[in-house]
């Protein structure tokens, strides 16, 4: 992401884990639709992921928060489906 994307305060926040293929799948979709997003990295240990539990109700990643629509969501398939529906070509 460019520096301007960081300071522009994008409305989508992605909670992700380094080297997690499910997270990368979401990243690919975000990029595909040219969506700006903020990446928040958490630790591999589930017990260390209270921030994710607070926002989404469980500790799994990826999870996204979209302030534009007020949606918070977990599970990559759900997220990709949501992004397609909301921001995809058919949206």
């Amino acid at each position: 992401m460019s520096d301007s994307a960081v300071t522009d305060d994008p409305s989508i926040t992605l909670y992700r884990l380094q080297a997690c293929p499910f997270c990368e799948r979401v990243v690919r979709t975000l990029d595909e639709y040219d969506l700006e997003y903020r990446s928040r990295f958490v630790e591999p240990m589930h017990s260390e992921r209270n921030v994710v539990k607070r926002i989404s109700g469980n500790r799994t990643v990826p999870a996204i928060v979209d302030e534009t629509t007020g949606v918070t969501m977990s599970e990559s398939a759900n997220i990709v489906g949501y992004l397609e529906t909301t921001y995809g070509n058919g949206a």
Binding site: R40, F41, V42, E43, E48, V51
Partner: protein
């Protein structure tokens, strides 16, 4: 008593001084739960910032300085954000924050580019290829203008905490 040890003299530093605008940068900023890219200017937009360059997490100066800053808790009494920066990875920062039981956030800069920008690099003897910031403290106002600066001229060395506190109080 003749204490037979060497404090290492560092080369003269070429860092920005009082009245100058400190360089902005973006690096992962680590808290006790996650990290994300944050610009220094995002922090100064909320008010004065004490930017603390310190040595890698795990050596004794890092522990000493953050124990002291944690116990003094200047941000309880003054409008200042205290933030650290070292070459340690985000994972190490997260562990360090937990171990020190502190509320402060730490920038991660493994390639030492920020210290380079600030003219305060220190190539480590006996650790090939590793350069880190020399200990330094920059007190910035909301425009990133430097109000006070201290840079170590020897190693190890620590800031004069009372002096830093006076400067924060005088903002």
């Amino acid at each position: 008593m003749d204490l037979d040890f060497d404090v290492v003299e560092l080369d003269e530093s070429d860092h920005p001084t009082e009245g100058v605008q400190a360089p902005d940068f973006v690096r992962p900023l680590v808290n006790d739960e996650y990290w994300e890219d944050v610009a220094l200017s995002e922090l100064t937009a909320d008010g004065p910032v004490l930017l603390v360059f310190y040595t890698m997490d795990g050596d004794f100066p890092a522990t000493y300085i953050w124990n002291e800053l944690r116990d003094r808790a200047w941000d309880d009494d003054y409008d200042v954000t205290i933030v650290g920066l070292s070459i340690s990875s985000p994972y190490e920062h997260k562990t360090f924050i937990e171990e020190r039981e502190m509320d402060y956030q730490l920038f991660s800069d493994p390639q030492n580019g920020v210290a380079e920008e600030y003219g305060i690099t220190n190539d480590l003897d006996g650790m090939a290829g590793i350069s880190e910031p020399r200990p330094a403290v920059f007190l910035l106002d909301g425009d990133r203008t430097i109000q006070y600066v201290w840079v170590a001229q020897e190693w190890p060395d620590f800031p004069d905490y009372d002096e830093v506190e006076n400067e924060i109080a005088a903002l």
